[in-house]
């Protein structure tokens, strides 16, 4: 336990600015065809990526993904952004994800994180939780929760990225 507190101190001792930008770790998740995918390999030809953690039972999550879906075609045309939706439904509900996504008409890349391993490694506490990655795969913005209109704010961030502006 004592050694641990040293590691903790050491970690805190690093000035935060010296840390690298957060990236997505090499955690394995599954796509809807059952294939194992390494989350660190997500890419979009140098364009931004939105990663959204959601579940079929989470109403604000579904509301957010539906709101984005209404404008998604325009977003892709204008900025080339890609949305990756990661479901944290456990084995009770994970088989529902594929028909659910299909009936919602979502065009997103959808993955399953059945035991929340990727969720935990990205410090996602409650869902929905949305990340924005720049073209280099660095997490430059994140947001927890959803209220109508948040999607417009998210898109402003995407546009900033595309225009080379910095994001607070």
């Amino acid at each position: 336990m004592k050694n641990l507190s040293y590691i903790l101190l050491l970690s805190l001792g690093f000035s935060f600015s010296s840390f690298a930008q957060k990236k997505v770790p090499a955690i394995k998740i599954k796509d809807l065809k059952g294939n194992v995918v390494d989350a660190s390999t997500f890419e979009n030809d140098g364009k931004p990526i939105i990663i959204s953690f959601w579940a079929t039972w989470c109403k604000p999550c579904v509301r957010e993904l539906n709101a984005i879906n209404d404008q998604y075609a325009d977003w892709v045309d204008e900025t080339g952004v890609k949305l990756i939706a990661i479901s944290i439904d456990d084995s009770r509900l994970s088989s529902k994800v594929r028909p659910f996504v299909s009936s919602q008409g979502w065009e997103y890349d959808v993955y399953l994180d059945e035991n929340s391993e990727l969720r935990r490694s990205l410090n996602v506490n409650n869902i929905p939780h949305t990340f924005l990655l720049n073209g280099k795969g660095e997490i430059v913005w994140e947001h927890n929760g959803y209220f109508p209109g948040d999607e417009d704010h998210l898109y402003e961030m995407v546009e900033k990225l595309i225009n080379g502006e910095t994001i607070e």
């Binding site: 690093f14 930008q21 059952g34 509301r63 529902k96 009936s103 490694s121 607070e168």
Partner: protein
């Protein structure tokens, strides 16, 4: 003094490090803290039983994750001073409950310390956490994953389970293999076949004056998953050796579990069909424990997880000692510009689920006092067919429709059958054998409920969400029960503010003094990745179901304050 010197040394070292090396890795984490200040409310709690001596209670946690290249390490500090009313009282105090180091190299992935893991659908092994429910059964030990060839994943774990701030004395160990045939064999097209198998066993230090309890108990499972362009069929069968426990009344019967789930998706249509048959499959690392603790396996319930607050009062929870059932769901999206779909389309969900007891033939013995008891015997034999008791059914129909650019309506109707004795009276479900002996029948409720939700986008970034809920039942269990009505209004200004007010009215409670209004108000503010939430009011009695037991959270009155943060 020495500590301070060490700290200065470390800080200067890290500064030097930082200047010489642009990238020292990534450090991130999250933080949550919740406080509640309780007010004495003689209406909801006449005797003051749910009014804590502390008056102010708070709990929270901080997670830290460090990563550099293929190396990761992290920890979680938890504190409960003391845990809030209704959450498990054994969470008291503070400490580091989770720490690990992990590296991934050439397909070999090793974690030393605390870890979470799941084999297949989790029937024989699922170490997981649900922080909000106070559930965490992580293992402390070693986890190794290896992928020798494309498509093949091998796993091996060994460790001891977390039990609040302690650890179980038992050792849990397991191996698992999963083979994705398409990946390995390079099949063309969409079709895929994934097969898997695992073995998990526990070593427990037990002694019993009357029974000869096994020290080592094994379980094993096999699974198969077929995936095509439109279909997905998954099935898992598990077996468990004799494992007498408090849950199963100390019987020596072997356990079995079967879970099959299939789905169909084609454009606007989606459907699922799931089947379950669980027989004597309470799987814990110790034979007698707090019912929420030390679960090794997880039995998928094959029911819908309801989140509107009134229907969620009667949520289902798998009966670990034995149950069977099915669920069928249909999703349909009426496209826009059609007669039913209108201008914006319409989404419909139709769902039915049912669970019943197993058809058991009891084989009791007569003890020294001349009573018929099950302990020490095989307990019963199971026949194919419906059991004597209906546990649950859930029919619901949901329609979502966007009326205009600004208004969206979701309406849901629910009809539940709820076996209160089986689902609320503890982990062993209905003490069916005692019921049959006494000729009594379990207490069951019929419930009808409806929820209408209206989302109104008033102007850009401003919206009002209103929920109208009602639940009608004659069922009453102690202070809990009867008819309810609820109105919730939530006004939000994205991306920073929300204000919500709610009135839940228990107008049909059998106890007239409890026909009262539960008013509450909440305001939340988001600043970057920090969220603050302040609430005041009466909260109605709630139910949290986890690990085979439902915990009733008593009604309370007072102020709440919560913070969550990510960095």
């Amino acid at each position: 003094m020495k500590k301070i010197l060490n700290l200065i040394f470390l800080l200067s070292l890290s500064q030097a490090f930082a200047q010489n090396n642009e990238s020292v890795g990534q450090l991130s984490g999250n933080f949550q803290s919740d406080f509640q200040f309780y007010l004495r409310d003689s209406l909801i709690d006449p005797n003051g039983e749910a009014f804590p001596d502390e008056r102010l209670l708070g709990s929270g946690f901080l997670n830290l994750n460090y990563r550099k290249g293929n190396f990761m390490a992290g920890m979680r500090y938890e504190n409960y001073q003391n845990n809030r009313v209704g959450l498990p009282g054994s969470y008291q105090g503070e400490g580091i409950t989770y720490r690990y180091a992990r590296f991934i190299k050439n397909g070999f992935d090793v974690t030393a310390g605390n870890f979470y893991e799941q084999f297949g659908s989790g029937i024989i092994l699922r170490a997981f956490e649900e922080r909000g429910l106070g559930l965490d059964n992580n293992l402390d030990g070693l986890r190794m994953l290896y992928s020798p060839i494309e498509g093949l994943t091998l796993k091996a774990v060994i460790g001891r389970q977390r039990n609040y701030f302690e650890k179980s004395n038992s050792v849990v160990r397991g191996v698992d293999a999963e083979w994705n045939l398409k990946s390995t064999l390079g099949w063309e097209g969409y079709n895929n076949l994934i097969i898997g198998a695992g073995v998990v066993s526990k070593y427990q230090q037990v002694s019993d004056p009357n029974l000869n309890l096994p020290q080592n108990v094994a379980s094993a499972a096999g699974r198969i998953n077929f995936i095509s362009e439109k279909f997905n069929v998954f099935g898992e069968f598990a077996y468990k050796a004799n494992d007498p426990s408090f849950d199963n009344s100390y019987i020596y019967k072997k356990g079995t579990a079967l879970f099959v789930t299939s789905s169909y998706s084609d454009g606007n249509v989606g459907a699922t069909l799931s089947l379950k048959h669980y027989d004597n499959f309470s799987w814990r690392s110790e034979p007698s424990t707090d019912p929420q603790q030390l679960l090794i396996g997880f039995l998928p319930s094959a029911t819908t997880l309801h989140t509107y607050s009134l229907p969620a009062l009667y949520s289902y929870n798998t009966i670990l000692t034995g149950e069977q059932g099915y669920q069928a769901e249909l999703f349909y999206n009426f496209p826009r510009k059609t007669a039913m779909g209108g201008n914006y389309g319409m989404k419909v969900t139709l769902s039915f689920a049912q669970s019943t007891s197993l058809d058991k033939e009891y084989t009791p013995r007569t003890d020294d006092n001349g009573n018929e008891v099950l302990s020490g015997t095989d307990g019963y034999t199971t026949n194919i067919g419906l059991g004597e008791f209906n546990y649950f059914h859930d029919f619901h129909l949901q329609v979502q429709k966007k009326i205009s650019k600004k208004i969206k309506i979701t309406g849901t109707y629910y009809n539940f059958f709820f076996n209160n004795d089986a689902l609320r009276k503890g982990v062993a479900g209905v003490p069916e054998f005692a019921l049959i002996q006494s000729g009594q029948s379990p207490k069951t409720f019929d419930i009808n409920a409806a929820v209408v939700e209206v989302l109104w986008k008033i102007k850009p970034k401003h919206s009002l969400r209103t929920e109208f809920q009602t639940l009608i039942t004659e069922g009453q269990d102690g202070t809990f029960g009867g008819d309810w009505g609820l109105i919730l209004m939530e006004y939000s200004i994205a991306p920073k503010w929300f204000v919500a007010v709610q009135d839940a009215y228990n107008f049909g409670n059998e106890i007239e003094d409890l026909r009262i209004h539960y008013y509450s108000a909440n305001v939340g503010y988001t600043h970057g990745t920090n969220k603050f939430q302040l609430g005041y009011g009466r909260q109605q009695e709630g139910v949290f179901c986890v690990g085979g037991i439902c915990r009733v959270v008593p009604a309370s009155n007072g102020f709440t304050f919560g913070i969550t943060s990510n960095f």
